[in-house]
Subunit: 172 residues, 2 copies
DNA sequence: CGAAATTGTTTTAAGCCTAAAATGTTTCTA
DNA sequence: TAGAAACATTTTAGGCTTAAAACAATTTCG
């Protein structure tokens, strides 16, 4: 497996083929760029949520999950969807119940399970924030053409699948 | 500015042009996908670093910055590069000095400035980790063709520029 | 020069986050 | 049906992270 998988083309792949210990610099640069983009946007959204609504990003994210599930979700569901640890969700929920945004109840059929929902207040506040949030995102991506957006979606779907496969290989 | 900037094409842009309150669902979906990819990969890297080297991701990231700067960096530089708060860096550095990976000294020319460097131990450990880290990244992105990688790099560069512009608009 | 603004870092207070262990509940299975 | 395995959640311990305020040193400028 010769290491010709980066964009600095080799005219003669035989020249250095044997003793190259695999060059993955391009993938590494891609990962750093992906991380930079996410950090940049996330920081911007975090700051705007705090300034405009005095709410933290994790709280907003949790409410966003619940807004999509009118019948409520279990803590495990939330934890999987948000890709954060169980314990993290416990604390987050605690604070949101405390502030009156969430309603928590033990499931009737399985006493292990906690079902959480947005309260009326929680839903109203989330909708108000979400509307503005959407315009921020649109603005942050404003210089991408519709075609760029489609293409990015496609490539990120491929990336996600690749990463999931790799993560699966490790665990099994 | 009619709202035709998503990929669900309108056959007749006059039909709904007037009363559409701007649809940015595509950008929103793109942002969520970007976030998912990053979270997925970051979690995987975090776990592997912990299992293989008993080191946290932030520590690794900080050491990565310093490895690229043999003459050291100031805390501000590090904070800007890593896109984290100043206070965050202070604590991170504290623990890495404590464990013998970093060397910290006050600048001779400006007594406000702290210059930090990797120690011999720090550099050796980082290099060992970095080599393996690079293979993990390559594996996580393994299903992307070289062309995919190039294209993603290009689109993410555009994304980064767009987001920076938007963030700048807000601050000014 | 000396006050004011700026810059670099640390501190503070609060919240976020994780991995691992503990707890309580349900389901599987011998 | 009893014990084991699996599951959902919470707790624990430690570290990460932020925003804002405080502190210290330097630079700017009237």
């Amino acid at each position: 497996m010769p290491a010709a998988s980066d964009c600095t083309q080799m005219l003669d792949s035989e020249t250095k083929a044997v003793e190259t210990p695999e060059d993955h610099a391009e993938e590494l640069r891609l990962w750093l760029r992906l991380l930079t983009c996410t950090t940049l946007i996330e920081g911007e959204v975090r700051g705007r949520l705090r300034q405009r609504f005095d709410v933290t990003l994790p709280r907003f994210d949790l409410m966003a999950q619940l807004d999509k599930a009118p019948d409520g979700m279990t803590l495990s569901d939330v934890s999987k969807r948000m890709m954060v640890s169980n314990g993290n969700v416990t604390g987050l929920v605690e604070r949101l119940v405390e502030s009156g945004h969430l309603d928590r109840r033990t499931s009737d059929t399985d006493r292990r399970v906690q079902v959480i929902r947005l309260t009326k207040l929680g839903r109203a506040e989330f909708r108000r924030m979400a509307a503005e949030h959407e315009t921020w995102i649109a603005d942050l991506f404003a210089d991408l053409s519709p075609k760029d957006v489609r293409e990015l979606m496609r490539l990120l779907a491929k990336t996600k699948a690749s990463a999931q496969k790799s993560a699966g290989r490790r665990r099994s």
